[in-house]
């Protein structure tokens, strides 16, 4: 999807939204004086801006909090090492779905090849048994 397509789609969505919900949105301002309506709109804009900035900061906080948490955990393990209670972490190798499926397919193929080719008797006649 190109950026231009997104722009066109969003414009179409806005036009459709304006056609269907224009009256409902404008009816909010019907009982207001123009100053009140402008105050309402500016308040709405401020709310959206502040909320989006806060959510953006919250999202970006993960990148800062991750290393800090790692640092704190690392410190804890260092203390444990000093005390002599080192715990060996045994981590199983993590495979993604693709790798796991590939391993499974390989195993199945090996099984199948074993079943399909039973040990055959030597058919050459350079060994004559009497």
């Amino acid at each position: 999807m190109n950026k231009k397509d997104v722009l066109i789609l969003s414009v179409i969505a806005m036009v459709v939204g304006a056609v269907f919900f224009g009256d409902q949105v404008l009816s909010i301002f019907r009982g207001m004086s123009p100053l009140e309506a402008m105050k309402f709109i500016v308040n709405f804009l401020l709310h959206v801006v502040v909320l989006s900035i806060l959510s953006f900061l919250l999202y970006g906080l993960v990148e800062f909090a991750g290393p800090v948490m790692k640092l704190i955990r690392g410190r804890g393990s260092k203390v444990q090492r000093r005390r002599g209670t080192e715990v060996q972490k045994v981590q199983a190798p993590r495979l993604n779905t693709n790798q796991a499926l590939r391993m499974f397919a390989l195993k199945e193929m090996m099984k199948g090849s074993r079943r399909e080719s039973p040990p055959t008797a030597p058919q050459d006649d350079n060994q004559l048994r009497f």
Binding site: V25, F29, A37, L45, Y59
Partner: protein
Amino acid sequence: MWRIEFLFVAMLFVALFTGSGLMVIVLVKAVRNGEVQRLWKDVRDE
């Protein structure tokens, strides 16, 4: 690949466009109804 930052920026822009559009509509309606002129007259009288 779209990043999530794009969503926040898009949200901001949608709010900005909607707000400015609403503002224009409200102002045009108020000018047409003569409410702006009345307000301006009140301000001038004071």
